[in-house]
């Protein structure tokens, strides 16, 4: 996504991304605070535990909306390509780590790291693709 232009789809994406990121931080702080101080149980505990994930799902939806709204097909192609690199890289890394965990008793990787790993790899791929097509 080319954010340096006056592209309305990119601007809307940045706005949605910022809102979901802010919600993620707020929900995470709220969940940690509630579990540390009040030890919630039952449905409330479930709700608090999934709150940060809901913000992440919102972030994924924001990117899907961007791909749908973007009128510049080349920018869509770059977005999709970088996402595919991110998915492939994340699958490769996590399956490798999984086998290392099983056979060599490496430290267990929590599932919550999958999304940041995906974002990092997609971001790197996006940067490299931008350089290639500069």
């Amino acid at each position: 996504m080319n954010c340096s232009t006056n592209n309305p789809a990119a601007r809307r994406y940045m706005w949605r991304f910022s809102v979901t990121m802010l919600l993620y931080v707020l929900f995470l702080v709220l969940a940690v605070w509630a579990f540390v101080h009040y030890h919630p149980t039952g449905p409330l505990a479930w709700l608090l535990a999934v709150l940060p994930a809901l913000a992440i799902i919102g972030q994924i939806a924001a990117f899907a909306l961007y791909l749908n709204e973007e009128k510049d097909e080349f920018q869509v192609a770059i977005g999709v390509k970088s996402m595919l690199w991110g998915i492939g890289g994340t699958l490769a890394l996590t399956v490798t780590w999984g086998f290392l965990e099983n056979f060599l008793n490496l430290r267990h990787m929590d599932l919550i790291w999958i999304y940041p790993i995906f974002c990092a790899q997609s971001g790197i791929a996006y940067g490299l693709l931008q350089l290639r097509y500069k």
């Binding site: 510049d72 080349f74 097509y133």
Partner: protein, 64 residues
Amino acid sequence: MKNRLRVLRAEREWSQADLAQRLEVSRQSVNAIETGKFDPSLPLAFKLARLFETTIEEIFSNEG
């Protein structure tokens, strides 16, 4: 896919940014199409043909 975008642009003294503005895409997109790194969709190819008042075949060729 080869194309004559650079020539057609030069004939009209348009920069990549000028063409991008007319096509409602980014300058980067025009550059990628012009250098053959990205093949445009049929609707975008038709838009280019209309803009240059010619046919798609006059702009793009399947050589190379």
